[in-house]
């Protein structure tokens, strides 16, 4: 592993689900020649991205409850090069902290106005933009009185399969940060997971704005 590797370890005992799922054997570091299968450009042409797919507040006949927000930022390679035309997918809980997922048993209300999934393609500057509502914190059973800080799940593609990243974005100043083993698995790099409130992105009389850049490893 390179010294600047910001990724969490597989085994992180405070997050109980890692105990039986973390590989115990060391990873093999293969030689990746330019033809390596992992360096193929991922093609996800099954469903074209629709004009409204980035707006999670307009996917149902009624509007969702909650605080409307804009989340935007750039997808960059570690060298600073923007990743253009890349697919970004997001999913999240509703304003009450409940996912529109059959197995979510949190006794908080579902919102008929909110499904909680969006996608978009980055523009020529690598920029993505979503309109959504601020998700609520939610409890989980990892330890007594465990609560996840409010977060949005992000899935990002680069131009090579090897650049694939799935992560979570958090909101600034959440008092749950210090109690969350998932966020803290990133140790000192956890701050990179926190969006920045931005008045410039905020739209008057309409929605608060957050900026969050995502940096993936450079294409080989």
């Amino acid at each position: 592993m390179p010294a600047d590797d910001p990724h969490p370890p597989y085994l992180h005992p405070p997050y109980g689900s890692t105990l039986l799922r973390a590989p115990a054997q060391p990873l093999l570091a293969p030689k990746l020649d330019p033809e390596a299968a992992e360096l193929v450009d991922p093609v996800y042409g099954h469903r074209p991205v629709g004009d409204l797919d980035h707006d999670l507040t307009r996917q149902r006949p009624v509007e969702p409850l909650g605080e409307r927000i804009i989340v935007t930022g750039r997808v960059l390679e570690s060298g600073g090069r923007p990743v253009r035309g890349a697919l970004v997918e997001v999913w999240q809980a509703n304003a009450s902290g409940r996912y529109a997922h059959d197995l979510d048993r949190h006794p908080a209300p579902l919102d008929p106005g909110f499904h909680g999934f969006g996608r978009c393609l980055t523009d020529d500057e690598g920029r993505y933009r979503f309109v959504t509502i601020k998700p609520g914190a939610y409890p989980w059973r990892n330890h007594p009185n465990a609560w996840r800080p409010a977060h949005i799940h992000f899935s990002v593609f680069g131009t090579q399969f090897a650049q694939r990243l799935i992560t979570q974005m958090y909101f600034p100043g959440d008092p749950l940060f210090e109690h969350d083993p998932i966020m803290n698995s990133a140790a000192a790099a956890r701050d990179r997971l926190v969006a920045r409130f931005d008045l410039g992105t905020t739209e008057p009389e309409w929605a608060l704005g957050y900026q969050w850049d995502i940096v993936i490893k450079g294409a080989a």
Binding site: M1, D4, D5, P6, H7, P8, Y10, Y15, S17, T18, L19, L20, R21, A22, P23, A24, Q25, L27, L28, A29, P30, K31, A37, E38, V40, P42, V43, H46, R47, S78, E89, W91, A93, Y99, H101, D102, L103, D104, H115, G116, F117, H153, F161, R164, L165, I166, T167, Q168, I182, S185, A186, A189, R190, R192, L193, D213, I214, V215, I216, K217
Partner: protein, 146 residues
């Protein structure tokens, strides 16, 4: 300043999977193969909330595991191996493995002989292969730093 990975979490199936996801090529596509298997954890229990992805030139596949940990893909026969990427609750970052259809691939030379078999699919039919993934413990699948 790379962005750290975080777990997929348990509640993604209303979002990421799509009906055509496991089918990278249409049925009857010349040279298509079916790949299926199960993902299990360190106790040998199924992992019912994993998301698997494969990628080949011009093709991309995505399949969530079923309650019994099983997954399936239909795709083109790979020239060498098929890269397989697995996300799951409990995986703070994904695991990368490689599905080989034959045990005599030169890429397998890099792998310790005692663990090589974990990277070779079992042929179950004319063009049907089985590849189980063991995240941890006895018979742990070889994973790669990609």
């Amino acid at each position: 300043m790379l962005t750290p990975s975080q777990t997929l979490g348990p509640f993604f199936s209303h979002a990421l999977p799509y009906a055509e996801g496991p089918f990278c090529v249409p049925e009857g596509h010349p040279g298509a193969i079916e790949l299926r298997g199960r993902v299990t954890d360190g106790a040998g229990e199924p992992v019912p909330d994993a998301l698997l992805e494969i990628c080949q030139p011009g093709l991309f596949g995505r399949c969530p595991t079923a309650p019994d940990g099983s997954y399936h893909f239909r795709t083109a026969r790979p020239e060498t191996y098929l890269p397989l990427l697995i996300f799951a609750r409990g995986l703070l970052k994904p695991v990368w493995t490689r599905v080989h259809l034959t045990p005599d691939d030169r890429f397998l030379d890099e792998v310790d002989e005692s663990r090589r078999a974990t990277l070779v699919a079992t042929r179950e039919g004319e063009a049907v292969y089985r590849f189980d993934v063991r995240l941890q413990g006895a018979g742990e699948t070889v994973f790669f730093a990609i």
